[in-house]
């Protein structure tokens, strides 16, 4: 099952708006929002939730004040500065890493270790195709595990529906949730902008794609803001042998579409949308080049998932 993930390194380059447009142009696909931390794709797709499931992952240490004798052992052993010694000791849930060391070493057995409900994930229906998405509770962790779970659910759903493609909106950065989104994907669409920060962060995400051997293609959004910088990005792509899939102009219609809750290709079928259709056709060519006609679904399963 071919999987495309949209990434950028730098946030705010247009990943979500472009994912929605591609979701509109694609056929027989499952859509997946892997930015579980600050998901926005649902704001354009207006999903109708078919199911909601609790995401329970990891544990947090919690002092039972009735049993704590204030010996201070927990504060001594915690490497995350999460415990303030006292009688009773106090554990800051925001700093607790869930490692269980204090729980194990507490002589009074006064520390509980409940599982954490970190968020919820959903299967939904949208006018642009089925959507697998989630919301991590604000301030929670384990986003990498939730991303892996969403990808697994998307693959199962696609297999069940007989759909041929998974299109995923990825998170910003290059850390845990991005690695979890990228590893084992068939194509990374890297959305950048013609700014020094756009290029700097693109370089890092390109290196990450190399690290995980995922083929990548680049899209320069808002390219007319600084044509020289756009040329520098094109030169970088050429030097690295990366496919440059296209340029998109800075267009206020993208924000207008967002305000209307529409993909840009639905909001205005001409102009930008025409360029996007050309880009989408190049994406499909890339995908068949990288996955081949007889894709074995097993190749999409990576040990890190």
């Amino acid at each position: 099952m071919p999987e495309i993930v949209v990434l950028s390194g730098k946030g705010g380059t247009g990943k979500t708006s472009l994912t929605a447009a591609f979701a509109h142009l694609a056929q027989d696909h499952v859509i997946c929002d892997l930015d579980v931390d600050a998901p926005d794709l649902h704001l354009l797709l207006a999903p109708r939730r078919l199911s909601s499931t609790a995401f329970v992952s990891g544990h947090k240490a919690r002092i039972d004040p009735a049993r704590c004798d204030g010996c201070g052992r927990c504060a001594q052993v915690c490497r995350f500065g999460a415990v303030t010694a006292g009688s009773p000791a106090v554990i800051d849930p925001l700093r607790c890493e869930g490692c269980k060391l204090c729980v194990t070493l507490c002589p009074a057995e006064a520390i509980e270790f409940p599982a954490t409900h970190c968020g919820d994930w959903y299967l939904s229906e949208t006018r642009l195709g089925p959507l697998v998405h989630a919301q991590l509770f604000p301030g929670e962790e384990n986003s990498g595990r939730l991303v892996a779970l969403l990808r697994q659910q998307a693959r199962q759903l696609a297999a069940r529906l007989g759909h041929r493609l998974i299109l995923a909106d990825g998170p910003p950065g290059i850390g845990c949730p991005v690695i979890s989104s990228l590893s084992g994907a068939d194509l990374a669409l890297l959305v950048t902008e013609p700014t020094p920060t756009g290029l700097h962060d693109l370089e890092r995400v390109v290196e990450l794609c190399g690290h995980f051997r995922v083929p990548a293609g680049v899209l320069i959004n808002k390219s007319d803001l600084n044509p020289r910088q756009a040329d520098a990005i094109a030169a970088f792509c050429a030097a690295r042998g990366l496919a440059l899939l296209g340029h998109l102009p800075h267009d206020p219609a993208v924000t207008e579409a967002m305000v209307q809750g529409l993909a840009i290709t639905e909001y205005r079928p001409d102009g930008l949308a025409q360029t996007l259709r050309e880009i989408w056709s190049r994406v499909q060519d890339r995908l068949s080049a990288s996955t081949g006609p007889q894709t074995n679904p097993m190749t999409a399963i990576h040990p890190l998932n």
């Binding site: 390194g9 730098k10 946030g11 705010g12 380059t13 979500t16 931390d37 600050a38 926005d40 704001l43 990891g58 544990h59 052993v77 490497r79 995350f80 925001l94 700093r95 890493e97 869930g98 490692c99 269980k100 060391l101 194990t104 070493l105 991590l136 604000p138 301030g139 929670e140 962790e141 986003s143 990498g144 998170p171 910003p172 950065g173 290059i174 850390g175 845990c176 991005v178 690695i179 979890s180 013609p194 700014t195 020094p196 920060t197 700097h200 962060d201 890092r204 290196e207 990450l208 690290h211 808002k222 803001l225 600084n226 910088q229 800075h250 206020p252 924000t255 967002m258 305000v259 809750g261």
Partner: protein
């Protein structure tokens, strides 16, 4: 006074606001880039780097001669970073959170501290602004341990009590919360779009339990819709500044320019913002007298 510049949504202008504030700040200040996955503050501040140090996480190294295969390490590890399969002990350094639990419970002292490289910390000066940043190694998944090491160095750099401007990572999960933890005030940078409003609300919910004063900077004001303003009004979030949506500003940004340095109007905007940030932080601790009057 420590202010964290944060946002839920990426690309709203955190780094640009941090760089502009650093450029016009009246008293001694350190600007620190805690967006270690995609660090960009140096691109705007162009600091002279005076030192660099690699950052490591302590991970287990098992001495197979001493190990009696009792599995206590594998049983306590919450991160599946160590396992015992028959006679074989496997460690997965990249999964390790560095908690030290395996070492603490090993009855034969067979586990000693090894290390995994998290990235690099560098520091220097941009004019008279102190500069500090962390840069996550590409392929490394965990940013919070590197961020905590940057914060430890920051504490040493600011022992004289100088001010701190923190450029936080986007999002509202563990890295973002780690970044704002030490701040006296949180400045949330957003844009007046549906995405900006939705993610601002997430950021508000994530940071509210910290009990720190928060205020909002609306970037690209005039774009999009009014949702952000309604949200701020409903939750009593003061709007500290509005940066107008102008193509000239976007173009200056695309050239790596510091917005506060692009004209007297922009400089006045950020001077006013600096004063308001300082007064916001005063709700928690006093600022030096006469600053940003």
């Amino acid at each position: 006074m420590k202010a964290a510049i944060a946002s839920g949504k990426g690309g709203t202008g955190k780094t640009s606001v941090t760089a502009s504030l650093a450029a016009i700040w009246d008293s001694p200040v350190v600007a620190v880039d805690l967006d270690v996955e995609a660090p960009n503050l140096h691109i705007f501040l162009q600091p002279r780097i005076e030192g660099r140090a690699p950052a490591y996480l302590v991970v287990p190294e098992v001495d197979l001669q001493r190990c009696n295969r009792c599995r206590a390490c594998a049983e306590i590890c919450q991160f599946k970073a160590i396992s015992v399969l028959g006679d074989v002990v496997l460690t997965f350094a990249e999964m390790c959170h560095g908690c030290g639990a395996c070492q603490a419970v090993c009855p034969t002292q067979a586990i000693s501290p090894g290390r995994r490289e998290l990235g690099e910390i560098s520091w220097g000066l941009a004019g008279d602004v102190g500069f500090l940043m962390g840069r996550l190694r590409v392929g490394e998944a965990m940013s919070p341990p590197l961020m905590r090491q940057v914060q430890a160095r920051l504490a040493a750099m600011t022992a004289d009590g100088r001010d701190v401007l923190i450029d936080a990572p986007p999002g509202v999960s563990c890295p973002a919360v780690t970044a704002v933890m030490a701040a006296d005030a949180i400045v949330l940078v957003t844009e007046p779009t549906p995405f900006g409003a939705y993610d601002l609300d997430l950021a508000r919910q994530a940071f509210a339990p910290l009990g720190k004063p928060m205020g909002v900077v609306v970037n690209r004001a005039g774009l999009g819709d009014e949702r952000v303003y309604g949200l701020c009004a409903r939750h009593g979030l003061p709007i500290l500044a509005e940066i107008p949506y102008e193509r000239a500003i976007a173009e200056a940004y695309s050239r790596g320019e510091v917005i506060a340095r692009t004209g007297p109007r922009q400089e006045a905007l950020f001077r006013n913002l600096a004063g308001r940030v300082c007064r916001l932080a005063e709700q928690r601790m006093p600022c030096a007298e006469g600053r940003h009057a």
